[in-house]
């Protein structure tokens, strides 16, 4: 009897957590179907508002663009680090890089953004250096604009990208690269035709995580955007909290949820397709 109940007992906390999340989500979705002007009848008017209002559409298209750019930059910056860490670094260097990543990974997100404010601010480290070296006459505006938000997003997602890539690079069959070298392939060709294709599962996993984290980002545009960088989470907060317009805020959250689901589905399908092709 006890043995039969054991698995249910073990999954009970997870089920409780999932059901709480689902209840919250269904409540939000419920609000999104409320009509305007206090109408209780179910309606799609909030979704219609989001689709037809150019201003709201801008929040979505701009967030998707920022998420794509930040993910791409994180991939470009993260790949060499992950590669170096696994292939070239000594065990001591590897431990050091890993400790640095772990510190970035575990430190509070708001704290990280405040750290960036200290670095990118008008009297921050970068501006002091630039002016000290004579590269700028007056402080450069490095935040409270798109550039600041991109720096914030990339610094937030970089550890996720590196760790996702690192997992795959660690499992690379090095004999394949050696075989290619023996057959006379130059290093750049080995990288493009052997190493990179083998890393695709890690690239997909890192892209998925990074893209979704960027797309849903709230703290970064709030702290580093200066009200000029329109991201979806800011729209949700603005509508639901600043304007107490819960139906519209909930509809925006519903659309964000759908987009996130679509991205997961698309990248998972891409990963499966690659896996099948690779196994053949």
């Amino acid at each position: 009897m006890f043995a039969r109940l054991m698995p249910y007992t073990l999954v009970a906390p997870a089920l409780l957590l999932i059901s709480t999340l689902l209840m919250g989500l269904s409540s939000v979705l419920g609000w999104s179907f409320q009509g305007g002007s206090g109408s209780e009848a179910a309606s799609l008017i909030q979704y219609e508002n989001l689709a037809t209002n150019e201003s709201y559409r801008h929040f979505f298209t701009y967030s998707l663009w920022l998420a794509a750019v930040s993910t791409f930059v994180a991939l470009i910056l993260g790949f060499p680090v992950a590669y170096y860490m696994e292939i070239k670094a000594s065990p001591h260097q590897r431990r050091l890089i890993f400790a640095g990543l772990l510190a970035m990974f575990l430190s509070d997100y708001v704290l990280k953004m405040f750290g960036l404010i200290l670095i990118l601010g008008r009297s921050g480290l970068v501006n002091r250096l630039a002016m000290g070296l004579g590269l700028a006459d007056s402080p450069l505006r490095l935040m409270y604009n798109e550039f600041g938000v991109l720096v914030g997003l990339v610094s937030g997602i970089l550890p996720y990208m590196i760790l996702s890539l690192n997992g795959v690079i660690a499992r690379l069959d090095k004999r394949l690269q050696e075989a290619a070298a023996l057959l006379g392939a130059p290093p750049w060709r080995i990288f493009l035709l052997v190493t990179l294709p083998l890393c695709i599962p890690g690239i997909i996993a890192g892209t998925m995580l990074s893209f979704l984290l960027s797309l849903n980002s709230f703290v970064t545009p709030m702290l580093l955007g200066g009200g000029r960088v329109d991201m979806i989470a800011v729209l949700i907060f603005d509508q639901a909290i600043n304007l107490a317009n819960l139906p519209l805020g909930s509809a925006a959250a519903g659309v964000l949820f759908l987009i996130s689901g679509a991205v997961i589905l698309l990248l998972s399908l891409l990963g499966d397709r690659y896996q099948k092709r690779f196994q053949r």
Partner: protein, 345 residues
């Protein structure tokens, strides 16, 4: 004589326990009813309320009260709307726009104005059965005299080209749309016609560099040197910035400065009797004088003295303008979208 079996004894014990437990719950709920729950702002505001109102009121009436924190009154409105009929707070400190919206949604109890003995000492316009004014805050321009190349004296100075990229303005319809309404009035419009205000804001646009969402952000930007001018700020922010240096100036900009009325409302299903007693205490002369001193705001009670620091920042000859916040309330969403689209981007 009837003897009880062991099973009956256990049942009886359980039933007694249950009755006792339910009695305890009833007692706790009755006790809880004596505790007045107040939704209000935290930080300096919360501290000042505790020492000027909550603690002296408890000493005078025996009614304890506690503050449930809100970061903005619109946030509370959202929460009240979401939890309709499941609210356990009694009083809500807010601004006129959110209070008006809450009234329309049936989230408030009428205030028994006749029971407020001190109401006669308040301007008639701030006492009604929806809300009672508790203090008023003048708004002006704050700037850094070290970095701004000229003395700012009027709202129109915000269009001056020398301020390019130096000014921070409210985000969207923040401050309940008061900045947008003010610009409309200055440009010949009013609370119902804000088109001229947006035209004026477009002239200021090259000077706007950052859009702020809160008082604390304004203060942080000023004191860290990220913003040289805050286009629209309550005088309390000036007092906070001034702690970081004497080079910050508060300008009661010409031709007039807007004043917002903060208020208190009684929530639906509240302990109306205790809530009314609290309001009556809060608007009386001494507590008003004390909170005005601590917050640097104008007391709503006409018999209370204005704090010397405020008198210094806002001279007696300053012309005030009270905005029709009730009229503005229904338009905030549209203003917010338009401000984001035409000014922030």
């Amino acid at each position: 004589m009837t003897t009880l079996s062991r099973r009956h004894t256990l049942k009886l014990a359980a039933a007694s326990g249950l009755v006792g437990y339910l009695g305890q719950i009833g007692f706790s709920q009755a006790q809880a009813k004596k505790l007045l729950k107040i939704i209000a702002w935290g930080g300096t505001y919360g501290d000042a309320m505790r020492s000027s109102w909550l603690e002296p009121f408890a000493a005078a009436s025996g009614i304890q009260s506690e503050i449930q924190l809100q970061s903005s009154s619109m946030e509370t409105l959202a929460s009240l709307r979401a939890n309709k009929n499941r609210n356990d707070a009694d009083l809500w400190f807010s601004a006129i726009a959110p209070t008006s919206l809450a009234k329309n949604d049936g989230l408030l109890s009428p205030i028994p104005v006749g029971q407020l003995k001190n109401a006669s000492q308040l301007p008639a316009a701030v006492v009604n059965d929806t809300y009672v004014g508790i203090w008023s805050l003048p708004y002006g321009i704050i700037y850094n005299a070290k970095t701004v190349p000229f003395e700012i004296t009027k709202w129109e100075d915000l269009t001056d080209k020398r301020l390019k990229g130096m000014v921070s303005a409210p985000y969207g319809a923040n401050y309940n749309g008061m900045f947008i309404a003010l610009l409309a009035l200055l440009a010949g419009g009013d609370e119902k016609n804000v088109d001229p205000g947006f035209e004026l804001a477009k002239k200021m646009k090259p000077n706007f560099s950052i859009f702020t969402t809160s008082d604390s952000e304004q203060i942080r930007l000023l004191t860290s040197g990220e913003a040289d001018v805050v286009a629209f700020a309550p005088v309390a922010n000036y007092f906070a910035a001034r702690k970081a240096g004497a080079h910050f100036r508060f300008v009661c900009a010409k031709p007039y400065i807007p004043v917002s009325i903060s208020n208190v409302a009684i929530l639906k299903d509240a302990n109306v009797e205790a809530a009314t007693r609290f309001i009556d205490f809060a608007i009386s002369k001494e507590p008003q004088q004390k909170i005005a001193q601590l917050l640097g705001c104008l007391p709503i009670n006409t018999q209370s003295d204005v704090a010397p620091a405020l008198r210094e920042a806002v001279p007696a000859d300053t012309e005030f303008r009270f905005l029709q916040e009730g009229v503005m309330a229904g338009q905030l969403s549209g203003w917010n979208d338009r401000w984001q689209r035409e000014i922030q981007r």
